[in-house]
Point group: C2
Chain length 247, copies 2
């Protein structure tokens, strides 16, 4: 009888080709997890996450689910995983879940965080986790841009995926900006995010902060739905998946 | 006319063979700095620090001094260093100092920090900076041990250096322990520390916390002055030089 497990995963994305397993490389988070759990189980195990993260993106609260037949306890499975996973991947909680729980299909919301270091001085201990910008940033203009982006919109201009037939309408409940020393920490809370969406939102907000575009250009962007009109793809290393919500 | 400079340096020690330059490797902090400044100056430049740090030890506030003839401004020298130093070494301030300032000879005190993660769960984002201990630690016993170590003592038992004719008497003004989530952060403030001294102090305090020795054994240790009676050498990665004091 297979049991369904739900776990919270942390990883530093720096060394990986992102979440999703690939045939061309075994250097993905999903690849590492499936290999390990398949060894434990003695047969192939599939691991689902709340969603893919790009190469270089970090996770503090990624949620995964998988089925196992083995009769180990929750603690034994978690300890086994933490013993054999690479040092930059860790399981911080693991519990048995209802049979119908699925980390991606049941997710109802997510929080991503993007860290910008606005300084000319390096913060070497944070170098893997912040995007550094030396030029001054106009915080008021960025807040205005953030306001235009909140709400339910068609975010087609804010994804790198082309010609998908799936809906590109999403709801951003809130975008916040917190100042912490020389850092600006942006938090994106929404019901879901398209491929590259947070990084393109961030790139667009930063272009407003750098006075390379007007905050007022954003409503038009949302209307035109054209990727080439939106901002640059902000670097992966500044981004982290913080929390996934379920009902 | 040479000018004397004083700078505050940060580095992540993980990838280096410590501060001090060596003939066998160029992978030292001092080696990297001297090579860079010698290129800037067009002739050999010697860089002094407040003291050596071991391989793997980090610095948030190492102080260095060096003489340069070049006519660049303070900001230009600092920017040049940050541009060409490896990503895990950074200069956070640089000013011209009096001719007689010497980073090591003028130092009057130092603060070191040691981070212990007391958990069975990995904190993957801190893995390079904490020493993880899964077993419970007796905080009251450790505080008692810390109290015995404060003050002016002959710390000969707490150094790996043998047969030096130099004095091994030092004053520890204060040892503090702060709890922060699952971390115990130890702060050592003293007038100076011998080779390996903080790591052996920490190893001894941790052995008390693990009930492998009594806090009351410490006065005898200080009296016997015998390295083999003191605790283990706590791992380098938990240690960081935080601040150096000058009059």
């Amino acid at each position: 009888m297979k049991k369904n497990y739900r776990a919270i995963l942390q990883y530093e994305g720096t060394s990986y080709q992102g979440w999703q397993k690939q045939t061309s490389t075994d250097n993905t988070i999903q690849g590492k997890l499936e290999k390990l759990l398949s060894t434990l189980e003695g047969k192939p195990v599939e691991v689902h996450s709340s969603g893919r993260t790009d190469a270089g993106v970090h996770a503090y609260g990624q949620v995964i689910s998988f089925l196992l037949e083995c009769d180990k306890t929750e603690k034994e499975i978690m300890d086994y995983m933490n013993q054999y996973l690479p040092m930059d991947i860790g399981v911080i909680s693991l519990v048995q879940a209802g049979d119908r729980f699925h980390a991606r299909l049941n997710a109802t919301g997510k929080i991503y965080r993007y860290r910008v270091l606005n300084s000319s001085i390096p913060h070497i201990f944070d170098r893997r986790y912040v995007h550094q910008i030396e030029e001054p940033l106009d915080k008021e203009a960025m807040k205005k841009a953030m306001g235009y982006l909140e709400g339910t919109h068609d975010f087609k201009a804010f994804t790198s995926k082309k010609n998908s037939k799936k809906s590109t309408i999403r709801t951003i409940h809130q975008i916040e900006m917190e100042e912490k020393g020389e850092e600006l920490i942006f938090t994106f809370y929404g019901d879901g995010f398209l491929y590259h969406m947070v990084r393109i939102l961030m790139g667009t907000i930063l272009e407003v902060g750098l006075h390379q575009r007007e905050a007022e250009s954003i409503p038009l962007l949302l209307e035109e739905k054209e990727r080439s009109l939106a901002g640059f793809l902000a670097p992966a290393k500044g981004l982290a998946l913080m929390k996934v919500f379920y009902d």
